[in-house]
Subunit: 465 residues, 2 copies
């Protein structure tokens, strides 16, 4: 711990008393989360109860140049919560109030610690729902900070589209509201989109205003096997070109289907499989189903297995949401390292097939699932933390995969963020734009105290003259 | 002209020869456009033919601290093209090549000078179209820079949603690509959204990558009268809550309908009227129409007047797109000053009714049209450039209107931008965020040469410490 951090913590203790915690267990808990990356514990954890707590804490940290790391539920995958240089982690999970819901405007404002499931539970009687669904029950502040998405982004958008505004505590403790409640605006630089995806490196998000969607009259879900990954992707491309508003189109490869059958007690054919969901009125869903079935059969799909009853549907999508655990159960004791490239959909089949060849060649186990409609897929690469050689091969797999994604105009991360895990790949993707990222970071956080050592090493880039 | 600008122009002439123009007519033409605001002519105009031209020009201007003003079609309404401090206007209309269209990926890349109509003409046989449609046939670079939208933003999004990436020449002449061709990404700060809506103040956009949409199987359009503005808005809110994917929902007040009847030879009832459009399959459009008719009748609408044949539909929407000219024809010789507030839709009826009262009280003529689905509406306020008193009353109207928009959580501009025309209103809207805007501007354009004097006066705000 540096002298300055020690002094900052003394000041924080005087201000926050028992809201500040420095025990090993709490510090460890706040830096590990679900990630397989090596992480570092903070020197102290503040359990914030209100924006004023965050303001006071950041002001003190600013004065002493003490790092500040925001924490929601610890479910980020790229080491975003690691205290690379020590400092103060601000746990926002206690800021869990839903501040406002407007049914007529289909929007709401929540504190950053509200989770997506808690929000949806509270919306139950409004006829509205919040559509973005990453695997974990993440906090909405964290989801905004990571620019998260999930299984129905093609239809409903990602956090980039659904966040209307955020309240942010900046590096010097000032609070700004980045947007308004208007659905669109041309009033100056888009600060909302700048903070969405900034991973805590530009400020601490304390409140989030979100667009909501009307609950569809009918939801129908189906699973459908295909002879090859290529055929499954081609069917989705054809459906989207026909203007079918697919709510969800998730691909599982044969290995992942096998894992799900065992873990979630399903009996799907062990073959590349699409999990599909249709939202709309009764008639519109009927039509979407008829059109999609026709298209799928052109690509030699198997039968559609329908899950129209709510329980069946829940079971199917629970299995989809549990694929991470299903994958890990393929080799008990493993941890998982998820890849996250996103590519133009026309390149998706080739990129997937090559990735599967790499997995085989490198002797890894890595079931695949993908948000086909937007070209994003994950390999859940099984990892033995004690096996250095395996870790090296996994990094080799990821490097090859990301290089191919870049070659076809894609990105190294569709929804997980950069954190510390993908920093080495970002310069290849952003090129000369890295200096622009650094200029923005320096402009808003000249002391480099906001989640330092994430996304980019700001000192590596000169300022614009 | 400053000495430095004179030296810059000498250097530019040596580099560009006849591509550089300094005649009065050309300089005047490049600063007036359609705006009713007072504007200033640049000292020279460069007709850029390629990104390299822009790079070389910006490098020279950077060296001599000479202002750079990007120009597309001159159809911005808030004086964005005015050369407030003289300098070089870069006309990008010659950069009009469509560089790439991918049908499978439903996207394309164009040079900044391509107009929206030119793009759509070239897409005619692809089954795709570009949906964003501001009134003018604006350039896509200009539309990105202004964060433009139009009549179908509720269904298809604004430039914020459809721009995937832009190529930008930064203030020092460096070129960056802000994004990738992936549909979504969490790879670092969202530079694309930062440049979309930056109105030329952070760099010159030279290329734009855009998402396209599949042409719907069927399009049906209708006009429908309502007893009041309030009833018309309530019907649209109810339709959106029912999940009806309205493609367009445009409100015209009685005065605007009257103007359209005369200008476009229609015979609509002179009453608040919705122009509606439905996109989808045959069956889905039938269902949308049935549901919307039912909802509209609950709000005492008149009959739907259908325009299903292409010519009829074109005539109806041509009338909608011509409302600006229809409005001006109410008082020949007038210019028009468009207001542009955007508010939460639940507040829209009150804000409209109060605005109409203000118009009457201030003795102005101002027909109204609105993009109801997203809460954005325009008064086309008729203006006699020789009448100072009228101009003062118009500014009073706009000030009251914007103050009310701010009170209900809205924005002073939904789609026209700030330019010089709305600078005085921005601090009320952005509050402490103004310093953040200034910090970003200074970080990317430390010499303040990119379209200076627009959006904000950067020197009014201190740097973050």
């Amino acid at each position: 711990m540096t002298r300055r951090t020690r002094e900052a913590i003394a000041r924080l203790r005087a201000r926050f008393a028992e809201k500040l915690c420095t025990t090993d267990a709490v510090r460890e808990h706040h830096s590990t989360g679900v990630t397989a990356h090596r992480t570092f514990a903070p020197d102290a954890v503040l359990f914030a109860g209100a924006t004023e707590d965050v303001v006071d804490a950041v002001r003190i940290c600013h004065e002493y140049r003490c790092p500040v790391i925001p924490f929601g539920t610890g479910t980020s995958t790229e080491g975003q919560i690691s205290a690379e240089q020590g400092g103060l982690t601000i746990d926002l999970s206690g800021m869990n109030r839903i501040l406002r819901v407007s049914v007529d405007d289909q929007d709401c404002t929540v504190q950053a610690g509200v989770t997506r499931k808690a929000l949806n539970a509270s919306l139950r009687d409004t006829g509205l729902f919040f559509p973005v669904d990453p695997g974990a029950d993440a906090s909405l502040g964290g989801m905004a900070a990571t620019r998260a998405s999930g299984t129905n982004a093609v239809r409903y958008g990602t956090m980039r589209e659904v966040v209307m505004s955020v309240s942010v505590v900046l590096a010097d403790g000032q609070v700004i509201e980045t947007g308004t409640r208007a659905r669109k605006s041309s009033a100056g630089y888009d600060l909302t989109r700048l903070f969405v995806g900034s991973e805590g490196t530009l400020g601490v998000i304390t409140e989030v205003s979100l667009r909501l969607a009307p609950v569809p009259q009918r939801i129908a879900a189906a699973a459908c096997a295909f002879p090859t990954v290529r055929a499954a992707v081609a069917a989705v491309v054809a459906a989207l070109q026909s203007g079918i508003p697919l709510a969800r189109a998730e691909l599982l490869d044969a290995l992942q289907v096998d894992a799900c059958n065992r873990y979630s007690r399903l009996d799907l054919a062990v073959s590349p499989t699409l999990f599909l969901e249709f939202h709309g009125t009764d008639r519109s869903v009927d039509e979407q189903i008829a059109l999609t079935s026709e298209i799928a059969s052109e690509f030699e799909s198997g039968e559609f297995r329908w899950a129209t009853a709510t329980e069946e549907r829940t079971r199917l999508w629970q299995a989809r949401h549990d694929i991470w655990w299903a994958a890990l159960s393929l080799r008990p004791g493993s941890r998982g390292m998820p890849t996250d490239v996103c590519v133009p959909i026309s390149s998706l089949p080739d990129v997937i097939v090559q990735a599967q060849q790499d997995v085989a060649e490198l002797g890894l186990v890595a079931p695949l699932c993908g948000h086909i409609g937007d070209g994003n897929f994950h390999l859940c690469v099984l990892l033995d933390p004690a096996d250095r050689d395996e870790q090296a091969r996994i990094e080799q797999l990821n490097a090859r995969l990301i290089a191919r994604a870049h070659t076809v105009g894609g990105t190294c991360t569709g929804e997980h963020g950069i954190g510390v895990g993908k920093m080495r790949y970002l310069p290849d993707e952003r090129g000369a734009g890295m200096a622009t990222l650094a200029a923005l970071k320096r402009a808003l956080d000249p002391r480099n105290i906001m989640n330092p050592g994430k996304i980019l090493q700001v000192d590596a880039y000169p300022a614009y003259g």
